[in-house]
Amino acid sequence: MQNLLKILLRYSNFLVFIALEVAAFLLLSYNNAYPRSSFLSTANNVIAWQHEQMSDISGYFSLRSQNEQLAAENAALRNQICSMDSVKIVFPMHYMNAKVVQMTTDEMHNYLTINRGSKDGVEPGQGIRNEDGVVGIIRTVGRNYSVVLPIINTYSNLSCRFSKNDYVGTLQWDGKDIRFAQLADVAAHMVVNPGDTIVTSGLSPVFPEGIPVGIVENSVLKEGASYHTIRVRLHTNFKRLKYVEVVQNAHQKELEELTDGLD
């Protein structure tokens, strides 16, 4: 017994090291699992507040371009009202505007924080878009702020389709260039041309059908490969992202409960 204690004491540093590292890796794997702690992330009130102050200060430097952006958006909305009767309503969607208070664009796992949280009815899994196209999906929700997993994160998977023929693929990101993403699972028999338009598929309750995602930049079919390697130029300019919209589907819970039972 005494010998055992002696051995434990002798190696106590190493044992503490192992215990701490195990704890750190548990945190790491817990962090990658689905709803994350909103306290230990930028959805945390104090930290998001700090980021909001920072972006408020830097916001003054881009007032002009923001005005231009808002004016363009107004125009687009007015156009939409004109053609309202042609808008197809598949899901009862509700849009809520939000401001980006923090974001990273130069990492493999980019995230952004928005100033809407559970008190505004935001829930994990809701979609985020701006006037150009898809931005990402809500990952973690705090009371006043939420963290978004954007499509420029290597964890992101988004179901998309070609607008020309409804062929469905999965949009992923390789961690390299935030202007481009990759469309996977498009079989070799499909004819893919540069300039083809990619939109959301509407197969998941997160986004309604037909929100613009990007256009095909180029596509390569390697010898003997059964899938195309497609590079998609994204519509959303993540470098200048300032205002976004949360897409809330009134039937999302019900749809998710239905499909959850199937796995």
Partner: protein
Amino acid sequence: MDWTRQLGRYVVVMLLQVLLFNQLQLWGLCHPYIYVMCLLMMPITLPHNVDMLIGAAVGIIMDVFCNSLGIHTASCILIMFIRPYVIGALVNDKDRLNEQITWRTLGPEVMLKYLTILVLIHHLTVFLLAAWSWAHIGFALLETLVSSIVTIIIIVGYNALKYK
């Protein structure tokens, strides 16, 4: 008194990291984590276990700001674990250290070696854990190299200002 001053200095460095260096976006390659300076400059008076716990605490704080729970924690614990061994290997006569890690006590050459080794190990762990797949390993290595060089330059600069 000495400890409160030290603590104040660490808070300044952490704020610099979070408010300034975390916002830096240079070619997507350069993420200098200068906050390791707080850990590397800590006196070697505390027990090894306590050192590692402090490393874990500093790591968690960074992780919360970077949305990367666990990555900085694991890296900081690792460098705090190997720190005494690195010092032991670099310095023959430990009494000379007077338990303080500064440019004066270590000498510029040893100090630079000490910083380079530990900053490289810390950054390598952070970027490898963030990449988390063999597909991105080349990029992670390049990221480690660029960021470590920038981190070391900034730490040397910061200390040059302090001891002027």
